[in-house]
Amino acid sequence: MSSQARGLNNFITDLRNAKSKEEESSRIEVELAKIRKKFNPGGGTKLAADGSNPSLSSYQRKKYIWKLVYIHVLGYEVDFGHAEVLALVRSKKYGEKSVGYVALSLLLRGSDPVMGGVIDTIKKDLTMAPMTKVGGGKTSSKGGGVKNDATQCLALCSLANISGLELIQAMHVEVQHILVSKGSTEQVKKKAALCLLRLTRTSPNLISGRIFAPHVVQLLQDKHLGVLTSVMSLLNGLASQQTEEYGVLIPNIVHILSVLVLKKDCAREYLYYRTPSPWLQIKLLKFLQLYPDAIEGHDIGMGGNDHVGQLINVVTRIMFETEVSDSINKSNADHAILFEAVNLIVAWGTTCPPEMREGAMNILGKFISVREPNIRYLGLSTMAQLAQIDGSVEGAKKHQATVLVSLKDADISVRRRALDLLFVICDTDNAERIVDELVAHLVVADASIREEMVLKIAILAEKYATDLRWYVDTILKLISISGDYVSDPIWHRVVQIVTNHPQGDLQGYAAATLFLAVSTHRCHETTVRVAAYILGEFGFLIAERPGMSGEEQFHVLHQHWYNVDTQTRSILISSYAKLANLYEECRPLVAPVFAKSKNSVDVEVQQRCAEYASMREAFSPEAVEDLLREMPPFEDKRRSALELRLLETEGENSAAVTKASTPSEVEQQRAMLNAQMMDEGMAPIDEQEEPELEEEMADGAAEAAEDEKIAAVEANPTLVGIPKDLIPAMRKAFSNLCTSPSGVLFENAMLQVGVKHEYVGAQGRISVFFGNLHATALHNFKVKVDQPDHLRVQMQGTQGLIDDGEGDEGCSIENKTQAKMLLLVEVTAPFDDAPSMRITFETEEGERHDYPLRLPLVATCFMEPVNLDPGAFMQRWKSLEGQDRECQEVMRLPPNSSGIDEEYMSRVSNIIVNGLKFGRCEGVDPTPWTVSGAATFRTGAKDVNGNNINVGCLVRVEANPKANAFRVTTRTLHPLCSKAIKNVSLVSIKLAAL
């Protein structure tokens, strides 16, 4: 092979003859090296100022650049030669310039730093005045010079392809000018429109709609369909950014569309297989989809000349007069328009006349049974969209059988769409049928779609289960059919649902079913995991049944021990611990397992075994009992893990995700039932005794309330806030509630607000009752609870009660009745204030009341007592010395109080132990005048290892009876904790003085 310059053709022939990919790439390597050398020979050759090699002839330069373009197009990276490309762009010769611009489009990106070097050239080429006014673009340039509009076109096309912020800033004004200029030829205009679109896409809001809309009106008058099509693309791009600004153009668009569709008036060159410019029709229909309210409120069928009537005619014509054609191209073009018309109907939604929606559904029904795969695919996909409009799902459900056929199609694309559509049309009526069909199909479905199917089946089964036992059965079936595709979130969800539904016999049923499922030796590992968890929690419910005693439960689980991985073993170990705790006879069975696995290489297994094994020696029996108690109900996240998983795979806009995130009726009923369950067993508010009154009270209670009220009252004279004389009582009520589980938070002649709260670790459940004490009903009653960063809050309550900022009506409370609100909170970080709760309502007399209150949700609510021996206490006390860690305050009791005596001290110690939930550390207090305690502040936040973050807290109260004073000292690792505990302690101790 000679090394002398070879022509482009020879190079291509070489590549074509390459027998393997390796041969091809080595040939390309050789060529790249050669070209690099030509561009920069090194040695004595001096390069020009722009970095190009001046000794190259025009022919050579073009040839090498073409070679680079060729190599690039074959998918290889080309990262040099930019200087030569720019030299070609700068050339005065059209031949060189055109090559330069093509190479520029392909090889460079707008962000390349070298682009700066050609901005001026591009700008000059853009703004070149057309040499002659070219009529209709038909003038041949033969005998003339370079047509300037050709150069303009090159520059526009290149600019559109490379985009880039710097270029946009430098050029967009010019491009805009070219587009609207009367002097521009059609060739230039249509390219300028698209170029501008590309620029606005990279840098949105480049153009103000208000200013530009009139220009668009002008441009839409253009008779040249190429220009019109490009302008429509631009319009769609602009209107999707500033929709309101371009709404005025709807009549113009409808007019253009009706000329094409109804009159079939179109230049011959723009007929595509006898269809008037399908490209333009699609764009017009897309534009109209931006305005879903366009036909709302219009009396359709009246007045034929108004544009809405015309639009309806057009859409009707497209829908019902599209014919099947033998030519695949015509058929595609016509159906493209038809599908776009249906998309428009989908966009209109319920404002669209129902007969059109039904018509569309019927047409799609036909499409999903045709042989032509593209039409079938799109039919399924569009039907899923249409079925989501209120009231349309019934129509789609008729085609259920046909859709099920497509689920078995050979083509994965079609199968996916069918699955999606089934998912959308599934509801309580047909859920069992559809889910059973899907499960049956899962057996034969291939791997590529299985995971998606499993996920969707799991969601449907949960959403539409009228009986949750069916749900449990379905998931178990999923696991047995394709357990490998059942991701952790799916089985976690089963556990959650079973745990959170104590009503009925779901838990017992689940335990019994899983017992049977794991009794065979061969079953999927995921089944073992679910069974281990459920039997550990609810095994006791079936322990009385024959053959299912605790011992037998252990045996059916333990037969899988040697076949499962360490993660499953960890779950098994916890279940064993729970079994051993419940059944005496299990202990000798479990002990050897723990003993053996204490040395496991897996840290988790090792730790669990060691801890469970030594638990009984380390803690009191009550503590052990507590540790191994049933798990509390899970927090119900707004979006389940399954929905999140779906969101990941399908993206925000998919029909399936929308469907999955709206709760079904059945789900809502379940939630209601649960809420009722929780409310039962709580004492009605009226029977609670009123708290005593006291003069002045603590930090943080109602100060904010006072300020806000004054401001509000000034703004609106009919607004009633909290009367000043009520504030001391409110403060006292608040402080009382901080240390007691229930009480009245607020009371006046109109309203009584009662609170009942209880806490486990980092989580709390707060019920708030709003009782109407007024003679008439309270209307528009709303409660807004502040959601600070340090708390995760979930709220439910009487319909309309909770103000979620959407401006709803609120609820009404009849007199002598009450509304309820339930908050589930989890604390995630230390804090020293209390969340605010704002109550607003109106009386029938027309007064508006606005009460800013605070919920008694303070840091000490989340304490768990710790019992320390005196030595350990002092050691920690000393280790926590230091400014940030300690908080101290001395408080004198009011002179009229009864003074500090032993009885008072026992009240103080009672407050520390029962109110603040500290463990009293008796031995450290040498005199009766001090009280010391220790506790852990639990948060739900996780550290890097996934363990909950907890803060250890110590408190010490020292009394000086002679001075009638107290000193409270707190030491914790966190300054906010120290402060919060000190505040609550002080206030509570002061309260105890009376």
């Binding site: 053709n9 369909l225 950014q241 060159e269 595509y272 073009a333 709206t662």
Partner: protein
């Protein structure tokens, strides 16, 4: 929230009118032309090309011409042994993309007078010129085939006038090569007619 979401979807749908990329690939997996209109990194490009080889080439003729790939979808047509694969945003009308591909093929056919794969191999620069004349940044600019070809011819004339004769290297096809890979225009995509029209 759903209302906002719907409006959001619609605006995305209306804005989507351009291809992200087009790749011409032979049945053997050789790339005949590729142009990426949106910015992709080299590794993203490699991935797309690999996906085309893996997802598009093995498909049977009776399957649909659309493959979903998350953010975008492949929409392809097969002419003889050459696949024209377009990456289009999910919101774009699939059938119209199929016909845009066909429009491009018709223009190539008009220029090369019965185009075949070899024309594309040896006159890549001409195909690129036609592509850029018809599609600006992946968006259809001119659907009138005659006007497109006229522009190309005019541009060629200008080049010839300005440069010395014989400088242009285009269209000098090697006579020894056969024209077996003739496209079957106007036929159903994917269906293969009898080979060897010449």
């Amino acid at each position: 929230m759903t209302e906002f979401n719907r409006a959001n979807i619609k605006s995305k749908a209306a804005a989507a009118c351009g291809w992200n990329f087009i790749v011409l690939m032979s049945r053997q997996g050789k790339i005949r032309l590729s142009e990426f209109f949106s910015s992709y990194t080299e590794s993203q490009k490699k991935r797309i090309l690999r996906d085309i080889t893996g997802d598009v080439l093995p498909r049977q003729a009776k399957m649909c011409n659309i493959i979903e790939k998350g953010e975008y979808k492949f929409i392809y047509r097969r002419y003889a042994s050459l696949y024209f694969v377009v990456g289009a945003p999910v919101e774009m009308n699939e059938l119209i993309v199929l016909e845009q591909i066909h429009l491009f093929v018709e223009a190539l056919d008009g220029y090369f007078n019965s185009v075949c794969e070899l024309d594309l191999v040896f006159s890549l620069h001409k195909s690129l010129m036609i592509l850029f004349e018809m599609f600006i940044a992946g968006m259809l600019c001119e659907s009138n085939r005659r006007e497109v070809l006229q522009q190309i011819v005019e541009a060629e004339e200008m080049v010839e006038e300005m440069s010395k004769a014989g400088e242009d290297t285009s269209s000098q096809l090697d006579d020894g090569l056969s024209f077996q890979e003739q496209f079957q225009l106007g036929r159903k995509p994917g269906a293969r007619g009898p080979r060897g029209n010449r």
